[in-house]
Amino acid sequence: MEKGKGVMGSRKWAVDFTDNSSSPSTRDIPDPPGFTRASQDQDDSAMSRQKKDAEANWKSQKAWEVAQAPFKNLLMMGFMMWMAGSTVHLFSIGITFSALWQPLSALQGVGKVFEPYKDSKVDLLAPKLLFIALNLGGMLLGVWKLNTLGLLPTHASDWVSSLPPAHEVEFSGGGIALH
């Protein structure tokens, strides 16, 4: 970037040949004879519509692809979890927490992920839903893994394991006569 700027700054002059303005009145120089701005516009618009359609198509296709991407992730995660086993150690915990964290961060950034494919003609709702569903699936997988690791308080033992002994009402002492 900085290098580019340096090059720009070193230019002494430049001519801009592009002309996108549509009304002739704003221009100092009249249009050459035989040149109609409108026809070009029309021509352009036809072409651009075509182009736009293609782009929309491509966008929706891409959006669907993006939406389906977590599925691969899900499979990979499942494989990793299977590999990690069901005992609590660093590796399995790492895998499980990444399995929980990834869908969560993905869900937070749903809008951002589909930003490039935003188009008036493209219906992003369905891919978005799929994306969310798949990520939720991933999260569920993570939670399930957490449970198989025994890290979820779903058993009675998780609620009573640190319960202090109940207070005893009576007190008794004594023993064999001291010698």
């Binding site: 005992t87 660093l90 109940a166 023993g175 064999i176």
Partner: protein
């Protein structure tokens, strides 16, 4: 992306694996003495024999009341060697034979042993079975030769034995039981080949026998009738004269043997010693021609002239202690007298030929906490000017042993610590804020120096000298012996009560005696004769509002030996050792109960139960009475009558008639064991201060079992009466061991189990919801250990998670024993190789850390055994889930792992008890094992998971951090520079 993560995780994992130390419970060699200490004692000296002539290392051989024989260095008082005989092997006599063997006669004269004098190796041992029990006498002739052998004469079991001193062979034996006489003295007149045995029959006939030393035949027998009877012993005055006291203790009888005839001559004590003469005793003194008589007023030295006339040479106060005679050169004899002055003792040595004046008189300053002199032994040495010098070994009232020489205490040994009765602990004072700057700087400098040295050691840069220095710093860290409370609770005072009635405070850091105090209440006085200590309890433990007070301990003793004797009590400041209060209540004490209530000054309420089953409340304040009145409906006590085989439970009935603080008992329940089939041999309860963290036990598959945690549970072991003797006295069919768990509030037997073919001795420990006990299995011919775990079935339904989450359960409601909760037990037995002297269990501050059993083995060591080994849920093939839970596969025997001896290379000779005290750090427990020796260490049953180890190298950590910071800075500078260069390109 996950792959990336995995690649990142793996190295971290590897690094962590490298950092985790390999699990080991044992210590390294250089850790010995780092947090443990060991002290060796011998006990109260009973007899002493000096060995100073022609010996390079001057020594004294002693026998003690703790059945120890030891050879002590006369210069410094160190132990050269020591043997602790069993508790039933009482040493009767010791002597030195041939100048190289120590001869000991023990077990009522039935075992004679010779030990090599320089190193204490046993040379030979002879068993002398007698025919009838009698007193035991040992005579080691100084220079008697019989066929190149020097015989030793032993009278025991009514037989006279001559034993070769070379190999312990029995040369001959003469039975006196057939003559029906009871021999009192053996005398070996010098330069004659006969032994004189002097004795009485039926206390009215006096006999002397002359026995030939060659073959043991009786050469001569004389007798004389003595109708008055004899009190005590017949003592020799000279080779042919004896003195005895008649049965009325008022007439002295001089027995002289001349020309085979026995003459008796009677003299009234009151004629010799004017004034009252009660409690007359003849003292054994071995002075030639002189005997000593002690009465209630004085001690008199009485000379027997050649004509048989008695002549009182001198009278001294009866508080004076007289030593045995010591033979000097040219037939001269000397003896020592010790007189007690005000914080001084006066030692005088007199010569028999010149009784009127002191040969030597010395005054020695004596700590009043040592009490009176109980015994004195003297020894002489030749000074450079060829005159005789004397050294005296004295045994004090507190059982300490001192050597006096030239008016000074050369050394002293606190041998009272060999007979500890009870142990408790006290907190040290809180550190005062405001330490001088110089001290801080100094300690900082020391700290840095120490750590730099350690760092050098770690990096293997240290020289051997420095390595020695490092070890020294580690062992003598000033931190551990400070007199203030520490954050981890490692520094404590161990307050111990000894048999002598002395209280000692030992610092846990290095084992030194911080203070010691001879309790006035436990000293013989007019109100209280022969008091004995019984129990030591914490009396005041300042916590919050009484923080300015020092903690104090309560000592309970008894005047005399019978259960109905009066009580002696003291309250002692645990920081200074001062007796704050000294009480002699009139009631007796058979049991001391530590109530779980405190008054506003944090004094613990105690109940003293007397022999008539009345409860006496202490402290005697209206406030305490009010607290007790409020709680009395829920206070119970029980008694275990081992003789009758009855357990009885009591509650408070009414106040006694006159005393505000005395309560009558009402018998609530009794458990009577049938005397023909069961005899109580052991009872054990939970420790009063034990903390249990949780009531639930999580087992495999996240299941829960609820422990039956009750402080009111008593374990009782009974055996069939036939099997109550030693092992081997009963056949397996006769022996039945029954164990019971009894609720002491209601008398309900929670569980009963019998072990057929097993017998005691039973050693047990009860903790949380389990009891582990050790006994002998006669069928298997092996020792066994069993465990019983008890669970509460009435809470077992509490398994619904939702209900637990919203708090709908009965787990925290107070429980009453009267609700009769249904219980379930699990038990299992294992073989155990050792016989056991004591069992204890580790205790921690919150009870979270897993437990280890501490087993005092027959080899006087303490073995730590993980409680997981005695888990009744062990099975042959544990499931995967059970393995995950940490359940071990079942084995028939408990493993003894050599590394798990907490006493490592040391022995706690005569081990009697193992006390565990929780430190403030949850992982750590303090262990104090006592017997004749003392041993203290710190244990972390689950390793120190909550702190860095003491040898953690802070300097290395600091260095690493500094190095990292420097590296970050350098790389930052380098990257900046590179960036700049790139920009200029």
């Amino acid at each position: 992306m996950p792959k990336m993560k995995m690649m990142m995780i793996l190295p971290v994992l590897m690094l962590l694996l490298l950092l985790v130390p390999t699990p080991s419970f044992s210590l390294f060699e250089d850790q010995v003495g780092f947090m443990d200490w060991h002290q060796r004692y011998i006990g109260k000296v009973k007899d002493a024999v000096f060995h100073t002539q022609k010996a390079a290392r001057k020594r004294v051989v002693v026998s003690t009341h703790e059945n120890v024989i030891a050879s002590l260095d006369l210069r410094r008082g160190d132990i050269f060697w020591r043997h602790v005989l069993g508790p039933n092997d009482v040493v009767d006599n010791i002597d030195i034979a041939l100048g190289k063997y120590v001869i000991t006669l023990s077990s009522e004269g039935s075992i004679l042993r010779a030990w090599n004098l320089p190193d204490g190796q046993m040379v030979w041992e002879s068993l002398l079975p007698g025919t009838k029990s009698s007193k035991s006498l040992l005579v080691v002739p100084a220079n008697l030769k019989v066929d190149l052998d020097s015989p030793i004469f032993v009278y025991s079991g009514s037989c006279l034995h001559a034993i070769s001193s070379i190999d312990g062979e029995l040369l001959w034996k003469t039975d006196f039981a057939t003559h029906g006489i009871d021999v009192h003295q053996l005398i070996l007149p010098s330069a004659s080949a006969v032994v004189h045995a002097v004795g009485v029959t039926d206390l009215s006939h006096f006999h002397t026998y002359e026995v030939g030393v060659m073959s043991g035949e009786i050469l001569k027998h004389t007798t004389a009738s003595f109708p008055g009877g004899v009190y005590g012993e017949i003592l020799p005055v000279s080779n042919d004269r004896f003195v005895a006291l008649d049965a009325s203790r008022s007439v002295l009888v001089i027995i002289s043997i001349q020309n085979g005839k026995t003459h008796l001559q009677q003299t009234h004590v009151s004629d010799l010693i004017h004034g009252s003469s009660r409690d007359t005793v003849i003292l054994p003194s071995k002075l030639s021609g002189i005997f000593t008589v002690s009465t209630d007023t004085c001690i008199a030295f009485i000379k027997v002239t050649d004509e048989g006339k008695l002549h009182v040479m001198e009278k001294v106060d009866n508080k004076v202690v007289v030593s045995d005679a010591l033979s000097l050169s040219e037939g001269e004899q000397a003896f020592a007298l010790v007189q007690h002055g005000d914080s001084k003792i006066h030692l005088s040595v007199r010569l028999v030929h010149d009784m009127s004046s002191n040969h030597l008189k010395e005054t020695v300053e004596m700590d009043h906490n040592r009490g009176f002199v109980h015994k004195i032994f003297i020894n002489s040495y030749v000074r450079t000017d060829r005159s005789n010098g004397f050294r005296a070994l004295i045994v004090m009232e507190d059982h300490s042993l001192l050597l006096l020489q030239q008016g000074e205490i050369v050394w002293s040994r606190e041998d009272g610590l060999a007979s500890i009765i009870d142990v408790t602990t006290a907190e040290l004072p809180v550190e005062k804020i405001g330490v001088s700057v110089a001290k801080v700087e100094h300690s900082l400098f020391e700290w840095l120096k120490g750590h730099v040295l350690k760092l050098k050691g770690t990096l293997m840069l240290a020289t051997p000298d420095e390595l020695v220095e490092i070890q020294k710093i580690r062992l003598r860290s000033s931190e551990k012996s400070k007199m203030t409370r520490d954050h981890n609770g490692f520094r404590r005072l161990l307050v111990v009560l000894t048999k002598a009635g002395k209280l000692f405070a030992l610092h846990t850091g290095d084992g030194r005696v911080v203070w010691s105090s001879l309790l006035q209440s436990l000293r013989s006085s007019e109100q209280c004769s022969q008091p004995t200590g019984l129990k030591l309890h914490q009396w005041q433990i300042p916590h919050h509002h009484a923080l300015d007070n020092n903690p104090s301990v309560l000592v309970v003793g008894r005047c005399g030996s019978s259960l109905s004797s009066a009580t002696a009590m003291s309250i002692v400041d645990a920081h200074t050792g001062k007796e704050v209060q000294n009480m002699v209540p009139t009631h007796s004490t058979v049991q001391v109960i530590y109530l779980p209530f405190t008054d506003s000054t944090e004094q613990q309420l105690h109940l003293l139960i007397d022999a008539d089953n009345r409860a006496h409340l202490y402290p005697k304040t209206p406030e305490a009475a009010e607290i007790f009145q409020r709680e009395s409906a829920n206070v119970y006590w029980y008694s275990v009558e081992t003789e009758a085989g009855i357990l009885r439970g009591y509650g408070v009935k009414t106040k006694c008639n006159l005393d505000e603080y005395c309560f009558e008992a009402r018998n609530l329940w009794s458990v009577v064991f049938p005397s023909e089939s069961e005899k109580i041999i052991a009872t054990v309860t939970r420790k009063a201060n034990e903390v249990v963290h949780t009531q639930a036990k999580v087992i495999a598959d996240e299941d829960v079992m609820y422990k039956y945690v009750s402080k009111n549970m008593l374990f009782v072991a009974t055996v069939s009466p036939k099997a109550s003797g030693p092992i081997g006295s009963a056949t397996p069919d006769e022996a039945v061991l029954a164990v019971h768990l009894v609720d002491t509030v209601t008398g309900r037997i929670l569980h009963r189990m019998t072990h057929l073919g097993s017998q005691g001795p039973v050693h047990a420990v009860l903790s949380e919801n389990w009891v582990v006990y050790h006994y002998f299995n006669l069928r298997a011919h092996r020792y066994e250990m069993s465990v019983i775990e008890i669970y509460d079935q009435s809470r077992a339904e509490n398994k619904d998670v939702l209900k637990l989450i919203v708090g709908k359960h009965n787990l925290t409601t107070p429980v009453s024993s009267y609700s009769r909760p249904e219980v379930m037990t699990k038990s299992q037995s294992y073989f155990f190789t050792h016989s056991v002297k004591a069992i204890s269990v580790t205790s921690t501050a919150k009870g979270i850390t897993s437990k280890h059993l501490l087993i005092g083995t027959v080899g006087d060591q303490v073995l730590a055994l993980d409680k997981r080994f005695v888990d009744p849920r062990r099975s042959l093939n544990p499931t995967q889930a059970e393995k995950e839970e940490g359940l071990l596969p079942l084995t028939d025997a408990l493993p003894i792992i050599p590394q798990s001896y907490v006493t490592h290379a040391f022995k706690v000779e005569g081990l009697r008890g193992i006390e565990t005290v929780p430190a403030k750090l949850e992982s750590t427990t303090l262990v104090f094992a006592y017997g004749v020796d003392l041993f203290y260490t710190r244990l972390a049953p689950s390793r120190t998971y909550d702190s860095l180890t003491e040898d953690f190298n802070y300097a290395l950590l600091l260095l690493t951090i500094v190095a990292l910071v420097v590296a970050i800075f350098v790389t930052w500078v380098l990257s900046e520079r590179k960036d700049l260069q790139d920009k200029w390109r």
